[in-house]
């Protein structure tokens, strides 16, 4: 497991039904591309987050496949529609098999 992985998500606390909201996510991860070499000329093995998903009440919002060309600390901003109150679930999948999860509740009036 890569060290110091910390997901951060920004979701508004309240919204009206059917409103479009903007979500920002960032996870601290070094995203080693597999292209770099260390001081002895050996290739540093690839270690990245290869998939990110966002779901709201078990319905998918966005599903992203990441390649090594995504920057360190992958950041995503996207829009979602919220039909009712519920919970956003965000999942990141690491190359080494680790899964990082975080959730945010939103109240719809």
């Amino acid at each position: 497991m890569a060290s110091g992985v910390k997901p951060r998500v920004k979701v508004p606390k309240k919204a009206s039904a059917g409103e479009t909201i903007t979500i920002k996510t960032l996870i601290s991860h070094k995203m080693e591309s597999g292209q770099r070499k260390d001081d002895d000329g050996n290739v540093i093995p690839r270690s990245i987050i290869n998939r990110f998903t966002a779901d709201f009440n078990d319905q998918n919002v966005i599903d992203v496949t990441l390649e090594p060309a995504i920057s360190t600390n992958p950041y995503f901003q996207f829009d979602a529609v919220v039909p009712e109150s519920g919970e956003f679930k965000f999942t990141w999948y690491d190359d080494d098999g680790s899964v990082y999860e975080t959730a945010k509740k939103i109240k719809v009036s």
Binding site: S33, R36, I62, A69, S71, D79, V81
Partner: protein, 140 residues
């Protein structure tokens, strides 16, 4: 044949043109191949989606990119000058509102960033943008 200064110059520049022609498209072909395998050789339209990228990126390690593709099912980003041309694929679910997304990417050098969107009817749309990179983002 008598080799004059002028003739030598002509032959030399001809050889230069030839080597630069055969050398350059190697990278672009990688991206073209990746795009062709995604679209299955179908025709790609232009104009329905937009890709926002900076004209000049001082640091190739984090280049902010955003794509806006109304009516798209998925959007794939390519960078034609990177060692691996594919960058990311966004699949939009039923609760996605505007079919737009932003992220930050790595660019090795000055190159084109290309977005290919698959629309709801199965057709493909393309948008591309040239980004000048001052410091490359692939380490080494």
């Amino acid at each position: 044949m008598e080799l004059t200064r002028r003739k030598i110059l002509a032959v030399g520049s001809g050889a230069l043109v030839f080597t630069s022609l055969s050398g350059l498209p190697a990278f672009a072909n990688l991206a073209d191949d990746a795009i062709a395998s995604l679209t299955g050789g179908k025709e790609i339209g232009e104009g329905a989606i937009s890709l926002t990228a900076p004209e000049i990126a001082e640091n190739g390690n984090t280049v902010p990119i955003s794509v806006d593709a109304p009516g798209a099912v998925s959007v794939t980003l390519f960078a034609d000058g990177n060692p691996v041309p594919s960058v990311a694929t966004f699949k939009f679910g039923p609760l996605s509102a505007s079919r737009s997304a932003s992220t930050r990417i790595r660019l090795a050098s000055t190159q084109n960033v290309i977005a290919i969107a698959q629309m709801e009817d199965g057709s493909f749309q393309k948008a591309s943008s040239n980004v000048k990179v001052t410091i490359g983002g692939c380490g080494g």
